[in-house]
């Protein structure tokens, strides 16, 4: 386990940087990119719960993102439900679907689980895309309600929305930090490292994995709802497999299983993808090569490099007379 003091200093420092960031680029476009970065980081943190903490590669992640997004969007446009009611509804539905789907998918293991969940993600995407009477298919949903004012605080400006997304990201990281540093986190570690031993000491491995899958789906749903509400428009591509693999890339670059790694990974990869947007679909060539190199040379991601660098400094200090 990483020492708690250092792993706590990291998110606090990041939060301070993030708080002043909008002041340096008050341009609307960049603020929207920043907001989406925070939202994708929440989703990446969610994927990290099932992948990094429970050790199960779920490829249904964008499906749950889509469920959260479409729940908010459709409740808002068809029933006039405001953002602040639609968002928890989306999270709840994603979590409930995660619990149900997890109960079935988690009976399979390893590669079979990954393939199973990829099929589930594809099915969710196809339902969203093809159920035109409900979701308007490719046309998408227009006029998704944005976050309304809470008392005197309004979220009409792009800067305010970026702070809102940042607030949810900070909450997400705090929640995951508390989970990791608790018996629940220790149970997940046990199941991830050795399921046979975990069962032999009385841990219900299935229940632990299902819990992680549910939390992961809930966070994907939260990110989806924020995504739909912050843009005001929602299309079916928000739930496709490419979205899952993008999120997976964020987590892998940042470091699977680390607390803040997925956030750093999101900002690096998503930021790069914005810079490389001029290359259009050819940017995937760049990311494909980058992913291969990443897996070959730093499989533990940025967080792993950071950890070993820190251990290296520590080692040198000890060697000094």
């Amino acid at each position: 386990m990483t020492p708690p003091r250092l792993s706590r200093a990291m998110p606090v420092a990041l939060l301070a940087v993030a708080a002043v960031l909008p002041l340096f680029f008050p341009n609307e476009y960049y603020l929207q990119i920043l907001t989406q970065g925070y939202i994708f980081a929440i989703s990446a943190c969610g994927l990290n719960v099932i992948l990094g903490l429970a050790g199960q590669l779920s490829l249904a992640h964008a499906g749950f993102f889509g469920i959260g997004a479409y729940t908010l969007a459709l409740l808002g446009t068809k029933a006039g439900v405001p953002f602040w009611a639609g968002l928890p509804a989306g999270v709840a539905l994603s979590a409930a679907m995660g619990y149900g789907i997890g109960s079935i998918c988690l009976r399979s293991r390893g590669h079979y689980f990954a393939i199973f969940t990829m099929a589930v993600g594809l099915i969710i995407h196809l339902v969203i895309q093809k159920w035109e009477s409900l979701t308007h298919g490719h046309v998408g949903v227009i006029g998704v309600p944005g976050p309304g004012a809470i008392g005197p605080v309004t979220f009409d400006s792009s800067a305010a929305r970026s702070y809102l997304a940042l607030g949810f990201l900070a909450l997400t990281i705090t929640a995951i930090a508390r989970l990791m540093d608790s018996p629940v986190g220790r149970t997940l570690m046990a199941v991830r490292e050795n399921e046979a031993l975990a069962s032999a000491v009385g841990l219900d491995a299935m229940a632990a994995k299902r819990l992680a899958f549910t939390i992961s789906a809930a966070l994907a749903g939260l990110a989806g709802g924020l995504f739909a509400g912050s843009i005001g428009f929602l299309g079916p591509e928000s739930s496709n497999v490419e979205m899952t693999f993008n999120t997976l890339l964020y987590v892998m670059v940042g470091g699977i299983g680390s607390l803040t790694g997925p956030v750093a990974g999101t900002f690096i990869v998503y930021g790069l993808s914005q810079v490389l947007a001029v290359l259009q679909q050819f940017q995937m060539v760049f990311f494909g090569v980058a992913l291969v190199l990443l897996i070959l040379f730093m499989p533990t991601g940025l967080a792993g490099v950071w950890r070993s660098a820190r251990a290296g400094w520590g080692g040198r200090v000890v060697q000094r007379p």
Partner: protein, 252 residues
């Protein structure tokens, strides 16, 4: 009083009958050994009793209750603990975290307690830490609590595996070849440790290849060969049993 009773236990892997109609009973407070040549079905027998494997037929009664249909974690929570033949630990985690995982079955704080940092969570964490440090002291690993389990020596890892199994206070402990891979002096320490565990009120069932360990520790021994029980009795009876001699030495 009988703590564990196995009736007509069988396990088939395809055409191979790994465990074949085995009956035995373990009395509360005793140390019982299972011996037999390689491939006799000893570990399979353990895996069936600890519910890591589904049984083909037969019944397992633990503390008078039928546990044949239970899952591994359920039977563990009733007080049946085990170790594995190849020393099995959470190698990346600290020594203390390993035993705290072992204690988890005794606590009930869930995800909301963790998120809200409830008082129950704090209390249970303290209990788990105390129990963990206590059991580490018992097995002689108190000074190594903060090391990662994977960095311990083979012999220390074996003691840690026993601590992980013991920390929640089981009534029956299954030890699968506890003396494998350690030297003679360490084996003497291990025998003393197992004796102190039994003296503490834990019933012990162990698989063992080293005869001096079995003969020294066990009140009763049963012998498996090709999945069948071929003998059962006191160490003296087993030493003289012609079926046992034949199984170990072959026809002469």
């Amino acid at each position: 009083m009988t703590l564990l009773e196995v009736r007509g236990l069988s396990k088939s892997f395809g055409g191979l009958r790994a465990v074949d109609d085995v009956h035995f009973a373990v009395e509360t407070g005793s140390i019982v050994g299972i011996i037999g040549p390689n491939g006799a079905g000893k570990t399979t027998c353990f895996n069936l009793v600890s519910r890591a494997l589904p049984v083909t037929s037969g019944r397992i009664l633990f503390d008078g209750q039928d546990v044949t249909a239970l899952q591994a974690h359920q039977v563990a929570r009733r007080g049946l603990a085990r170790t594995f033949q190849s020393t099995t630990l959470f190698t990346e985690a600290s020594v203390l975290d390993n035993v705290m995982v072992g204690y988890r079955q005794r606590t009930s704080a869930g995800v909301w307690d963790a998120l809200l940092r409830s008082r129950r969570l704090a209390r249970e964490e303290q209990d788990a830490q105390e129990a963990g440090r206590g059991i580490l002291a018992t097995v002689g690993l108190a000074d190594l609590a903060d090391r990662t389990a994977g960095s311990l020596t083979q012999e220390q890892q074996k003691r840690l595996a026993i601590a992980v199994a013991l920390v929640a206070g089981p009534r029956l402990l299954l030890l699968d070849e506890p003396s494998a891979g350690i030297n003679a002096e360490q084996t003497r320490d291990l025998i003393a440790l197992i004796e102190s565990i039994a003296a503490g009120g834990v019933t012990v069932l162990l698989i063992e290849h080293q005869m001096q360990v079995v003969m020294h520790l066990c009140q009763r021994i049963m012998v498996l060969d090709y999945g069948r029980k071929i003998a059962e009795g006191t160490p003296d009876e087993i030493r003289r049993d012609p079926a046992v001699l034949e199984a170990y030495l072959g026809h002469t």
